[in-house]
């Protein structure tokens, strides 16, 4: 390394940092401007730290994946699409959801989007606001949102944020949501 050249009689110890399927993220390095040697134990510790840092980066990558890639849109046909939201929604994921949902809505122009919120993690009050934002944006591109699966704790936040007074369609179940938009589940 250019740095090491300048150091002349220096020391450089490096281990690769590997992530996921063995892809190389980079290197963990130790550097000094004096010459020295390392014991086996020291080198083992160093290489273990490199491995551990790889796992830490894995966590970052996985989190990114779940936040951005996890926007399942299930087309039901006849201009109806279902969006089952699960897990937790932070700022980044809300952004990803909004982007994906709006892109879909513009491309496919469904009349209705049924958003199932029952899988969301309880007590995330900020989520309600984001949900309302998504609903409003959908309205602008011509898709009516129907929210289903509101749990008691979510109902409280929805009410607190005055969502009830808005023109948001909320239904207790999928059956009723479908019924309200003119589709009927017919079991035989």
């Amino acid at each position: 390394m250019e740095v090491t050249k300048a150091l002349q009689a220096g020391t450089l110890l490096g281990v690769p940092i590997l992530v996921q399927n063995g892809e190389n993220y980079g290197t963990l390095c130790a550097l000094d401007d004096t010459s020295r040697s390392f014991t086996d134990e020291e080198m083992k510790l160093f290489s273990m730290m490199g491995k551990l840092l790889g796992y830490v980066i894995d966590v970052d990558i996985e989190r990114y994946k779940t936040q951005t890639a996890n926007v399942p849109l299930v087309p039901l046909g006849k201009g109806v699409v279902i969006l089952p939201l699960t897990g937790s929604v932070n700022e980044k994921r809300a952004e990803a959801i909004l982007e994906r949902v709006l892109a879909y809505s513009t491309d496919e122009s469904p009349d209705y989007m049924i958003i199932d919120v029952s899988g969301l993690i309880a007590r995330e009050e900020a989520m309600t606001e984001k949900l309302l934002y998504v609903v409003n944006c959908l309205e602008l591109v011509g898709t009516t949102a129907v929210i289903i699966g509101v749990r008691p704790d979510q109902a409280l936040t929805l009410h607190a944020s005055q969502m009830m007074s808005n023109e948001v369609i909320i239904k207790p179940s999928m059956t009723e949501a479908l019924h309200s938009i003119g589709l009927k589940l017919d079991w035989r």
């Binding site: 250019e2 992530v19 980079g26 963990l28 130790a30 000094d32 730290m49 840092l53 980066i57 970052d60």
Partner: protein, 66 residues
């Protein structure tokens, strides 16, 4: 790296203490994490104990890094 181009939040937090601790334990001045970005190597995180041998953000081509 192609997998992910966002911010490594967990790594950032872990790096601060891990690099510092390694420098202490191995009694070595500088410990750093170099990230491969396409054909370049970038110093993503660094801990310099006494002398600043490596600067965070320093970037060089992959070939020149060895």
């Amino acid at each position: 790296m192609s997998l992910y181009d966002g911010s490594y939040q967990e790594l950032r937090e872990a790096a601060v203490s891990v690099l510092h601790r390694l420098s202490d334990l191995l009694n070595i001045n500088t410990v750093y994490i170099a990230e491969r970005v396409k054909d370049n190597v970038k110093i993503a995180h660094v801990y310099n104990h006494e002398r600043e041998l490596v600067e965070a953000g320093y970037q060089t081509s992959y070939e020149a890094s060895y």
